[in-house]
């Protein structure tokens, strides 16, 4: 009896400590986000003069200003961002899935080399690639088009890597063999047998790539000249670097940043069950 009571108490104290530590981490992470939400409510006069977390009275004015800016180009940027991130992530997930599956489930000459090459892409920084990619895409007549932003972001070394891990872990060889004995072709085996099993992992790949494209700045900045094709990151940057002799439109930037975070936060909240970032494919599966 006494022993049980001790154990319960012992379990309670670390539980409390753990809760406090985690809440501390949560507060740290929410702090700047809370700030941007508060700052978005401040009018121009309040932004640089009232206390950091003092709520201002300019939210509606800021939102109206943002919506009116250049005839509502902000909404166009938002749509563009959804297009780039949505279509890009979808294509990327498709390519990652079939590549990861192939690398996991086939044995063929050059497999290691191809895997190393595709994964090695993660080592090449975007800053290094941006200019040559731009010059080459210009050569192909694709600069300043939606394709220029979409195409270079389809190949995701990280996505291929994750897909290979998921395919190894989630698709049993026996099932593939059985399907083949039934006379199914390779494409059919992949589409009807392997892919459904890989779906939970592929959702994660999609989400990762969606966020990666959504937050990308440098590539669209280089590729696009027409501001009606800009994604949010580049569009907001034009407000910040408003140009020599022009004031940076801090109110609009902060309000825009806050508004642009809403879809991503919504994505995180609704899809949080699907983030299966299990990098090493079931650590104890052996």
């Amino acid at each position: 009896m006494a022993a049980t009571a001790t154990r319960t108490r012992a379990a309670g104290a670390p539980g409390l400590a753990a809760t406090v530590i985690l809440l501390g981490g949560a507060l740290y992470c929410l702090f700047p986000i809370a700030w941007v939400v508060v700052a978005a409510t401040k009018s121009r006069a309040e932004l640089f003069s009232t206390g950091t977390f003092a709520v201002g009275g300019g939210l509606l004015e800021n939102l109206a200003g943002l919506a009116a800016y250049r005839d509502g180009v902000f909404w166009l940027w938002t749509l563009n961002t959804f297009l780039y991130a949505g279509a890009g992530a979808l294509l990327s997930t498709g390519v990652s899935a079939i590549s990861g599956y192939t690398l996991a489930k086939y044995r063929f000459p050059g497999r290691t080399l191809l895997f190393n090459l595709l994964i090695g892409g993660i080592l090449v920084p975007a800053v290094v690639l941006a200019v040559p990619q731009y010059l080459l895409l210009s050569e192909a007549g694709l600069a300043d088009t939606y394709w220029a932003v979409l195409l270079p972001q389809i190949l995701s070394p990280y996505g291929i890597y994750l897909s290979r891990v998921y395919a190894s872990a989630a698709v049993p060889d026996e099932l593939l063999d059985a399907a083949r004995i039934d006379g199914a072709g390779d494409l059919r085996v992949f589409g009807r047998v392997a892919l459904p099993l890989m779906v939970p992992g592929m959702v994660t790949v999609f989400l990762f790539q969606f966020v990666a494209i959504w937050t990308n700045f440098l590539l669209p900045f280089i590729m696009l000249g027409d501001d009606r094709k800009f994604p949010l990151t580049v569009g907001l940057y034009t407000l910040l670097a408003a140009g020599a002799n022009q004031p940076a439109l801090y109110n609009l930037i902060i309000t825009g940043a806050m508004v642009s975070l809403i879809p991503l936060i919504a994505l995180c909240l609704t899809m949080q069950r699907h983030w299966r970032a299990d990098l090493s494919g079931g650590a104890v599966k052996n």
Partner: protein, 439 residues
Amino acid sequence: MRTRRLSAVATALITALLAAGCGGSGDPEAPAASGPASTAPAGPVTLTYWTWVPNMDKIAAVWNQANPGIKVTVSKQAGGDDASAKFLTAAKAGNPPDLVQAEYQHLPSFVAAGAVADIAAEAGPAKGEFSPGQWGLVTLGTEGAYAIPQDSGPMMLYYRKDLFEKYGIEVPKTWDEYAEAARTVRSKDREVYLGTFSSKDPGAFAGLAQQAGAQWWSISGEAWKVGIDDAATRKVADYWGGLVKEGVIDDMPYFTPEWNKALNDGTLLTWPSAVWGPGVLSANAPKGEGKWAVAPLPQWSAGENVSGFWGGSSTAVAEKSPNRAAAVKFATWLNTDPQALRLLIDEGSVYPASAEGQAAMTEPPAYFSGQPDFWQQVQAISATARGFTFGPNVNVTYNAFKDAFDKALRDRSPFADAVRVMQESTVADMRKSGFQLAP
């Protein structure tokens, strides 16, 4: 065995593709094979225009209404350091916009890269609309003309009138008086500075150097002469360096949130800036409305009356634009037509470069409503401003300014050293490219 053979094949394939890619990209800096189209195409043409002037699309809409044959599409860009690099990259890749906003200091590098067209033939008639000094900024001292001036940035001193009275300071007429005033302010209130030296704004420093009589670049015969490290510039550098070292002038950069706050709450009393200052002040320091006033820059010796330029830009036409004639037509209209000038002033908050445009400025900006003679003041100052020729690699010089003055502020080392670094970086870069340099 098979693996090895396969990787050999893969390597060969990639090499071949690379070779094809490199060959295909050709020589990007070779002049375009097809000459500029001097005759306008038959049908309506569409021109793209990169600019960061606010509301330029509204101004273009007025043009489009009146000129159905030439449609101008405005693409609003980020300004600043990388704006010119973005245009140069686009020009190099062969798909620049037809028209581009070019700051005067970047125009020479655009010309040197062959990115903008010589429009002297088409734009000749516009020449008379501008003062010779203003027009000189787009000819670079050559026979050609590479843009049409849009706005101008003569420098002046903005100061907090109310707080000058509070601290009992006279508006400084000379830089000596300015330094004295800086000491007075510090002695009366430890929270307040008379001014700040920004290590992020080479344009402001260049303007102050121009006032002192510097000539950073000049052309003698077929050679460039680089004189950044000249006596005038050193004088300016030593002056500000001394005040910062003494602790009577702050060292926070311009255009940061912190600077906005200081402008707003009255802990910064002056800003040596240019004619476009009211726009910045009203947007970033709305609380100071009616409290700021304008005066001529302090002078180096009493009785003098000179100023310099900070900023200002022009409208250039890309060398690769197939519609040069139409583009020049629009650029000329934009910067010389009375209706367009009115729009530039009202919608774009631009201080026009054209004499007629400047004369049209009568109502003081709302922010300076307490100073009804604001534009008369500005026009008087504008007449005293002197500029200098910009060289073909201002980007290098300006970048060196930021790094070197950052370092000087950080280490509290003499500003003259930073000026020397600017000179050396500029010369080294020009030498590397093969520019002819005068000894």
